[in-house]
Amino acid sequence: MRTALPSSPLQRLRRELFSSPLDGLISIGLIGFLLAVAIALVKWALFQAQWAVLQANSTLFAVGRYPLEQQWRLWLLTTLLVGATGLSWGLLRGLPRLDRVDQLWPRNDRIAVAVVLALAVLAPLFLKLSLAIQLRWWLEAALLVATRWAAGRWALRIPPPARRLVPLIWPLLYFAGMVLISGGLGLIQVSPSEWGGLLLTLVESSFAILLCFPLGILLALGRRSELPLLRWSSVVYIEFIRGAPLITLLFLGQNILGFLLPGGLAPDRVWRAAWVLTFFAAAYVAEAVRAGLASLPKGQLEAARSLGLPLPQALIHVVLPQALRVALPATVGQFISLLQDTTLLSLIGLLDLLGTARTVMANPAFLGRNAEVYLVLALLFWCGCAALGLGSRALETRLNPTANPAR
């Protein structure tokens, strides 16, 4: 609509903000309000805020009490993750696709690289990290850009069978990451109670996200099953979980699970919380998937069955791919709220990002530095959730059969 009209920036501004006297009044009010907020924020950030609380505790916020002499494992994991990201990203862009003009460095990618480089330079400066650690972050950023460049440049030279193996890196990396973090296979064990901060938040949320998805699909299928017992067990489970606030379930997991299992069998409370998050999110994912299943015409399953496909195969090859595509936005929405829900761990005494923040602010030296810490945490969470949302939308367009003739 906007493109249809001639538009110099000034005209556009006028049309959008001052098309009627009322609009003008509203606009002036809003502009005044925004300016006041912006000025207050800048003033506060420059003159009142004391960022020492983050600078002195950056390690605590990043990994909690993870033993210092074992932290090389986390650096190794970061490096692996960065390498894998660069590789996948490069391949995604380097391979020709029918639906768009090939472009090795589209605008979005250039912006992303600029943001990464800026972050790698500015964040360590802001946090006053030691030179050794700063240097590592620069190297990580350089590695990301380099693998991205190399993979994009030579994507076509990689033989297709090898290329097809690349996505497999991710599950492998996940297991490798778990081993690196918790120990085993010759590495010293690092007890979960020593994980904290961002590390704990990421471990808990990634674990729950990965497991709640298959569990949710099973529950959704169970709920739509023709077998009454299966259906009713699923219904009872889903509605029971959805009827309870997460905090009461976490509370139950921490205080009652010990009673429910034979002595000593209950997992560590970090894992206990991870399982509660998983079981909690599964009920919601089940509802999202169920909506996806409901959107399919009944004929799909019947047609597949009448072609002689056994039920499991009909579900896996015909019904689920279509249903999951419909359920994708709602499911990712659940993942996003799951990431946000990890903050509730701080209420049961775990030291996730928010829990660490509360501990740090009990430290005499940093009492009352609430605004600094909470704002930075909010920014972190916002970036994480927004990234998930963006990824979901990108995936949606790619999976949309009508918009993508390549499939």
Partner: protein, 354 residues
């Protein structure tokens, strides 16, 4: 239909209610397994506050320090000869007993007041070790508030940590004074003090030692006063559960050992010399038994024979622990007061090691 389905959700509730309600007894199968579990695990899981300077506190280096943390370290040293074999769990005051009862932590060393209902089998069912800090409840107010006594707090908001004995004592005292007040309860100590410092309440109440500890960290420690009234007795005591008396005894006597060591003048510095002395002199029977050179004290408790040596080596004796964490050698600068040895008129008294 949706309603019906949601009603169905209450099914597990009802079933569990019915089943648990009908069940009579199952016979306890977890007695005296705790020690074995801990030894097999190779680590002691210790429930602490984690946010209270002087008692248990995580510094920016991620290390736990404090009197309560030292009790954990001494116990771990008695078990494994290594004070670092402790997994600390930060517990807030309202989750601590459930964590202990469900076996989540082996030992609760979290400035917990010993009371009848917490000890009783029909109450929380805890088993208390010797008291490591005799305290009393106090009230702190800003000097500027003009509050001079408890009764001045009528009609005013008072900050208190929820789920503590202080919460109950406050309610009792204010009722006696017939003074209405607004309790502002927070789940954790740091939130309680943050609200107090930001001026949300005119007073904050807690154990006097804790108030003193927190006050050292205030921007203007001199601007806050403890009211003269002591609201209650607060013997802060480590605890285990009734479910495993053998484990409770091991903890109890490890703590007594720290107290006995002070009485005998055994310190972290001279423990090796004392041990050599005991080994060299067969007629110093008391010392030899205490340090495990002879006798079976360790074995009777399920601990190594030299558990006393290991514990004292790790943390020092009770007096050293006190001085380092809360006494004159610390930021808190608390007097020994009631926490002196019995010979000096205090309440610290170890039964004989015999």
């Amino acid at each position: 239909m949706p309603l019906l389905r949601r009603l169905a959700a209450s099914l597990p509730l009802m079933v569990s209610l019915a089943l648990v309600g009908c069940a009579s007894d199952g016979g306890g199968g977890i007695q005296s397994q705790k020690l074995a579990t801990i030894k097999a695990r190779g680590k002691l899981i210790c429930g602490v506050d984690g946010k209270l300077p002087g008692f248990s506190f995580v510094g920016s280096d991620g290390q736990y320090t404090g009197l309560d943390a030292d009790v954990c370290k001494a116990t771990a040293a008695a078990l494994f000869g290594d004070p670092s074999k402790v997994d600390y769990r930060d517990l807030n005051s309202s989750e601590r007993f459930a964590a202990l009862a469900s076996g989540e932590v082996d030992l609760l060393s979290r400035n917990t007041t010993e009371t009848l209902s917490r000890d009783a089998a029909g109450g929380n069912g805890l088993s208390f070790a010797p008291t490591t800090f005799y305290d009393g409840q106090g009230v702190m107010t800003p000097n500027a508030s003009g509050v001079k006594a408890l009764k001045d707090l009528a009609g005013k908001p008072i900050c208190v940590e929820s789920g503590t004995t202080t919460e109950l004592n406050l309610a009792d005292r204010m009722r006696e004074l017939k003074a209405a007040y607004t309790p502002l309860k927070f789940q954790t100590g740091d939130q309680t003090y943050a609200a107090y410092l930001q001026g949300r309440c005119v007073a904050v109440t807690s154990d006097r030692s804790q108030l003193a500890a927190k006050r050292t960290s205030f921007p203007d420690p001199a601007g806050h006063t403890l009211l003269p009234e002591v609201l209650s007795k607060e013997p802060l005591t480590p605890a285990t559960t009734n479910a495993d008396p053998a484990w409770a005894d091991a903890v109890r006597w490890t703590i007594y050992a720290l107290m006995q060591a002070e009485e005998l003048g055994i310190t972290q510095a001279n423990i090796d010399a004392k041990l050599a002395e005991a080994k060299a002199n067969p007629n110093q029977a008391d010392l030899r038994r205490f340090l495990g050179v002879e006798g079976e004290f360790g074995k009777q408790l399920g601990l190594p024979a030299d558990f006393v040596v290991k514990a004292v080596k790790a943390t020092g004796n009770y007096g050293e622990i006190f001085e380092r964490n809360v006494g004159m050698g610390s930021k808190l600068k608390l007097e020994r007061g009631s926490n002196r040895q019995w010979k000096e008129g205090g309440l610290i008294y170890s039964p004989p090691f015999r």
